[in-house]
Symmetry: C2
Subunit: 375 residues, 2 copies
């Protein structure tokens, strides 16, 4: 299958270098250059940052978490206030997950059946049922540019027969999600299969036969050894329909991104850069910098002299950032969040240029060497 499936939505390749691709994702809220990293706005806010600050890092698409927004403030309310775009004032593209992953990982007393997930809200204990149809209804009300199908995501290391059942269930839900999608909203399918390359490829073919606007890899970075993911990606990602964008869900570290882009992945999301920022970890081209360490007590340098983010350009010293972190001042959480997303923005922007210029291998190797240098 090829060409646009949903009006206003398209993806085209601008350049390819071995398996790595550079492209542009067109959405009703603007173009998104790929490879792209989607900062996570779990509850309608990329934590600590305002929309303009997120966009300044180069991000042109963010992810919202359906599970959280479904429970609070509720999709009907968000719909009545202009959808997630109007509600949060994020002007660029947006994607929502299905809610299934978090319903299963965060909620109490959850169970899964042919009809979806049943669980108790972690906020008020209320009983909730998330079927494929409900996942699409809620995402339709949230109104992101891209919705994700409901899927079953087994934990890393699950037995093969459990993974096979998850794959089969995900395929049955795929058709139900497509049948109940909101008009005008793009929908991505989710390929499962753990680290079993044969299951992954078969599932990619099954879902590729359906009119999804993109294909995601779910069930990576869910507890399996990171080397297993790195080994599986080059076997699996190139097998996903090359005419649709490929999205690796919930991944990852800078190293993960560089390896996955090399394997042909176009889109990523992860809480790592913003969560680690709030824990005082600045990510740099020379690896992580833990700001509370005593070695930075009187260090007048910015986090990274080569970085162009507001924290580094703003002249804030490591000594000042360390002080703010020890004093529990919110400003440092903002500055580190902005810095970390900036690094991710630089990685994907540089990757796009390198792919078009057919030098991705050396680009990636340069980054990987720097990342392992240490502070």
């Amino acid at each position: 299958m090829s060409g646009p499936r949903t009006p206003g939505f398209a993806w085209r390749v601008l350049g390819q270098d071995a398996n790595a691709r550079a492209g542009v994702l067109t959405t009703p809220h603007g173009d998104v250059p790929t490879p792209t990293f989607m900062p996570v706005g779990t509850q309608g806010s990329v934590k600590t940052l305002a929309p303009a600050e997120v966009a300044a890092t180069g991000a042109r698409i963010v992810l919202g978490n359906t599970y959280h927004l479904w429970l609070r403030p509720g999709p009907e309310l968000i719909d009545s206030l202009g959808g997630l775009h109007g509600f949060t004032r994020w002007p660029h593209a947006m994607l929502t997950d299905s809610g299934g992953f978090q319903a299963f990982s965060m909620a109490d007393r959850r169970s899964v059946s042919e009809d979806g997930f049943v669980f108790r809200s972690h906020l008020d204990g209320s009983r909730r049922a998330l079927s494929p149809e409900e996942a699409m209804r809620v995402q339709g009300l949230l109104g992101a540019d891209i919705a994700m199908q409901l899927d079953v995501c087994p934990p890393g290391g699950a037995p093969r027969d459990e993974v096979e059942r998850a794959v089969a269930q995900t395929t049955r839900w795929a058709s139900r999600c497509l049948a109940s999608r909101r008009e005008g909203q793009a929908v991505f399918g989710i390929v499962q299969g753990g680290t079993h390359v044969d299951l992954r490829r078969a599932h990619a073919d099954e879902l590729g036969a359906l009119p999804f606007d993109g294909l995601a890899l779910g069930g990576f970075s869910v507890g399996e050894p990171v080397e297993s993911m790195h080994a599986a990606l080059p076997e699996v990602a190139p097998h996903l329909d090359p005419e649709r964008p490929r999205y690796l869900m919930g991944v990852g570290t800078p190293r993960d991104l560089l390896i996955a882009i090399g394997a042909g992945v176009d889109m990523f999301d992860c809480v790592l850069p913003t969560r680690n920022a709030r824990n005082g970890q600045a990510l740099t081209r020379r690896g992580p910098l833990v700001i509370k360490q005593a070695r930075y007590r009187d260090d007048p340098r910015p986090i990274d002299p080569e970085c162009g983010c507001g924290a580094c350009r703003g002249g804030y010293s490591r000594a000042y950032l360390r002080h703010l972190f020890l004093a529990r001042e919110i400003l440092v959480l903002r500055l580190l969040s902005e810095h970390n997303l900036w690094l991710y923005g630089e990685i994907v922007a540089g990757a796009r240029a390198a792919i078009v210029e057919r030098r991705y291998e050396s680009y990636s190797r340069g980054w990987l060497e720097g990342l392992s240098e240490g502070q």
Copy 2:
């Protein structure tokens, strides 16, 4: 006495309307139009906000708390990193308090003697001694444009003889502070006397005879009924040397500012706008708005349609801000902090214009009526 006392520091009147004055405070870090409100940067950061956001509210001077910065990260470290200006990247004027008030209110096992305060740090229990000379040494290292003398501040409702002893002690410390000041740093004296107008006036005369660059009113808003302060201010503030700026410490609400400006006060500081913001209270020209209230659940309006702050101009609805507050998202603390400081900036900017145009009485009355309207 008249004319500048410290090189690079001056204050001149641009207009007067009854007791209210509009002027300009000249400092080594730029001019500060008065009346002015100083946002409080307790630990080297106006909580939740970046310097440019603070300046956007109209603030051209902020206050740093010597007690906190003395204990952590320490004045020597701050001095080595360019003083508070270099450390925090605030480019405009800055004032530090003496540390005495917080040493007495926050520390453990504190005592006061002729030589100053002795106390245990609230952070690590270490024994600290804050003499007039140490207060000036620490403030000299912090390097703000304006330092405050060490004073004794009795609680509201203290017996008259305790207030008299505090006044006398403050006067003796005044001379010691001036004798140990850092060259080039302006120093303000602090008039005590509680709500006793005769004590206040006598103390104002005593301190006015010393070469302070400005005179402050300490010991207001320390537990006494607010009506007592409102009644005392017009009896006391005009009695302070009119050729020097007058600073009402730790005050206050929008209503307090309007009344004190009418009594001839030029400078204010208070944690109220930023602290109340973090508690979910937006201050508006129609009084406070408690963002978590259910009435704002689906309210599409900004906090204040007349406000020009980033939160109100940015299109964030009350419903969205309420959601963020209930979800404990940091962004709402920033937006409310910016909004509240913006309101304070508007009050003092409007007061300056009204004073020059000799219509302060009606300006103040208009605000006071609006503030009591309610949401």
